[in-house]
């Protein structure tokens, strides 16, 4: 799924804000805490996907850009690691062992009253081609992920979306 040019422009300016505090290529990514603070930490990304090979590819791309990657291979493992590791972002596959696992992970995560609720980037082979659309702008109501990409993702595009989400950007949901 390609983003509209204006959205990519926003993503780039979000990235530039991050770059201000540290060199982007050294991969230190997201600044936690008060903007302008001198402390920088590596952002932590939790990937929930039962495909170990796909996880390996994602890990290579994300670690190469300086992120810390945590892998969960099932919905339950995902919920456990969410609690344990407090990731800054979750990358979630919609369909895992059972077709509905991705959905249930998201619902259970959002339903928990306390704790960490990081943004969710959902990634799947499902797209409009299959007659379904899982975009926050059209289906936000029943699949409340914050953003959506189709597998396979171009590595540069993946990193753009990750940076934008970590910087606080959220694609708009359809108002009607």
């Amino acid at each position: 799924m390609r983003w509209h040019w204006s959205v990519l422009a926003i993503a780039r300016s979000a990235r530039e804000q991050v770059e201000r505090s540290d060199a982007e290529e050294s991969g230190r990514g997201h600044v936690r805490g008060v903007r302008g603070a001198t402390m920088t930490c590596k952002a932590k990304i939790l990937i929930v996907d039962d495909d170990a090979d796909y996880q390996a590819a994602m890990r290579q791309i994300l670690e190469g850009a300086g992120y810390e990657v945590v892998s969960a291979y099932s919905k339950d493992e995902g919920l456990e690691l969410l609690k344990e590791k407090s990731p800054d972002l979750i990358i979630l596959d919609i369909m895992m062992d059972r077709t509905t696992d991705g959905f249930f992970f998201l619902y259970e995560m959002k339903a928990k009253a306390e704790g960490n609720k990081p943004p969710v980037l959902s990634i799947s082979v499902i797209s409009e081609k299959t007659g379904m659309q899982f975009s926050p702008t059209t289906d936000g109501d029943y699949f409340p992920a914050d953003d959506f990409l189709t597998k396979p993702v171009d590595p540069a595009e993946l990193l753009e979306h990750v940076k934008a989400l970590l910087a606080g950007y959220r694609p708009p949901k359809r108002s009607e």
Partner: protein, 379 residues
Amino acid sequence: MSHQGLSQTNRTGNGSRPQVLVVDDDEAMLDACPQVLEREGFRVIAASNGADALDLMRHQRPDVIIVDLKMPGMSGEEFLREARQVDPEAVAVVITGYPSLSSAVEVMKAGAYDFLPKPFEAEELRIITKRAVEKRRLAQAVAAVEREKRRMHDNFVAMVTHQLKSPAACVKECLDAALRSFAPEMPEPCRQLVERAAVRSQLLLKLMDDWLTLARVESGAVRARAAPVEMCAVIQQAIAAAQEGPDHHQVAVQFEPQAPSAWVCGDEQTLRELFVNLIDNALRYTPDGGRALVRLSVERETVTVCVTDTGPGIPPGDVELVFEPFFRGESARGTQGTGLGLAIVKEIAEAHGGRVLVESEPGRGATFTVLLPAGEAQR
């Protein structure tokens, strides 16, 4: 009068013994018909009036209904109309003491399959009931085939999507990740092979996407989402999307709409896909520095879009074949396409009640013309 109790297994009056419902206020008929029919192996339930008969129908699913046209209270015709609501597929035979052409017509209009004039022989009743049962079986078989086709189609989509696309997507992602991280360190022959693999796996994914699109449009899924669509905007979006494709930025695309707006009734996303495919096709066959032209015009009932390229053109023998799935003619050598683009264009045009035509001469490029029925503007 045998009244069978509530039974789920009766629901489709299935296979073994067909079930017949007899509705007649005449006691003699209620006595004789079941006897005649049961000897043929039918199960028979009976009612002396329309209301009772409808009650029976709500609990069971008779294959055939034999009903007298003239009854006190609810007439045979009224009963049939109600019966249609309960079971639109029940096959009805009407018994009438007043056979005439006009009453026959009335009866058929009320949804009866056939009629039997009184008085009739047992043999006539048997024959007509058997024929009615056969008709019912045929309708059920057709419905079952439709369901199976639907199931297979849904499974096909699910299968292609998950089972085939998942591993293909994984391969592409691994190759992309490897190239991104390690290309500079790879020996050149290694890097080239990995590049080739990445490109081919991308094409493989596009092929699956195209195939899914074709299946989706052929299945009629598109018709369900019809709404007013403004084509000038759609075409501009399609041009932008097609130009993002690999190696396409060296060819200019000129859009010449002869109207400020053009409305069609259909599915916006699918219509956009039609033009992305058509323009992508034009770009693929137009040499660098060349130009593709898209013209739009609106007559009262038709929106016409012509896409012209300055490529090598299509040999006369191939012109009829270009819309066939997987057809790739001589001029396609050296380009990378799935062979489904034009098949998709044709399928989408036809799903919208339109057509696509092609004119070409070797060496003089090609013009594809899409004709779509004009629709109402969105208010």
